[in-house]
Point group: C2
Chain length 248, copies 2
Amino acid sequence: MSEELTEAGGKTRLYVPGDLGAGMAVALDEGQAHYLLHVLRAKSGNLVSLFNGRDGEWLAEIAQVHKRGVTGVCRKQTQKQAEVPDIWLVFAPVKKTPADYLVQKAAELGASLLQPVFTRRTIVTRINQERMLANAIEAAEQSGRLSVPQVREGVSFDKLLAAWPKERRLYFCDEGGDAKPLADTLRGTTGPAAILTGPEGGFDPAERAALRALPFVTPATLGPRILRADTAALAALTIWQSVAGDWN
Amino acid sequence: MSEELTEAGGKTRLYVPGDLGAGMAVALDEGQAHYLLHVLRAKSGNLVSLFNGRDGEWLAEIAQVHKRGVTGVCRKQTQKQAEVPDIWLVFAPVKKTPADYLVQKAAELGASLLQPVFTRRTIVTRINQERMLANAIEAAEQSGRLSVPQVREGVSFDKLLAAWPKERRLYFCDEGGDAKPLADTLRGTTGPAAILTGPEGGFDPAERAALRALPFVTPATLGPRILRADTAALAALTIWQSVAGDWN
């Protein structure tokens, strides 16, 4: 068997949008070809792992290497398709570097969907959806996931709640008031869920009141210290996975 | 009463090394003076919160503003001293940007002490302790903590274990094998604890075996996906606070 490409931290895994199956040839994109040939110095016959979010993970042999690109041929399925738990992260977008970090970490921590929401105190007015997706793909590749989190367009707070799918419980990280610790609110729960975290300045009082009045919303706290917006999102996802997700 | 300085996300809090007490004058350092005068445009009579890790939190009035610096006079104690839970984070250092991030987040998440450890697969060979402390102070100021995490010098893996205080349980985040989920190992525990996370390439087999043979070590897993080194550290601290710390 040919040599599998390995890097510090693990084997090389690449996300591809096309179908995967025994003997199928898959064209890799320009960035992936560059990475394989010029960073990892891959050659024909080397093996790389591919996944597409539908067909599991495949060991593919690098079959053609030329100026135009690289083609991989699927040789063996190494994992059947499996989904991450059904947990969305709904978050007020933060500025550039923390935003990259937040998306990467959320993908590693197993979020199934990322939904930016513009609240009254959100300072960031635009999000770069393409960059978010690129960060999510990279993190999915490195984390061993078999799917990439879906990255939604930004939406206003009011539209988010108006269009909310009522069967999905929304855990709202509330800094003030009488909310219970998140782990306590989650214990014993099942079914689709979402975490909602606010911007640096928090939710405004009208937003907090609106959230608390909705039947599908559960307020929850994340301890006695003030967490930055991105820290709160990652801490809440961690607790969800640990109590109601697949870390148990 | 004079105006309290507020920023997006909360009031202004500054860490000072000197003593705090009713009527005491405290000289702020050059960086703090610059921040107050030129970023927040503070004036004499404005109020700022100070803490030193010993005397609680004090509202101080900016009393002297001149070229040489700024002095604050303690007017009122707003919080009595309180400690974060006794949880250490022992981590293989990572490269620059993730290292900054890790230290900030660990301080927000309430770590009491940060101990870098050089393992066999740790790529980073030097740590900037001064930079780590500066990041820890900034995060402590923003998070509402009344103390700054202690930042230790880096130590080798062997020395760490040889000098380990045996009454402190060490939770070792182990990627492979039969370890239980971290939340399960923590349930019902009390007393001093520490989280140990490895470098990007993980612990080597000899290190894992050495850890598992020690009576003060408990191996634990953080779910089925591969987490980056910094993500693992923050997820483990979050779970500890949620199960055994002060988030409950």
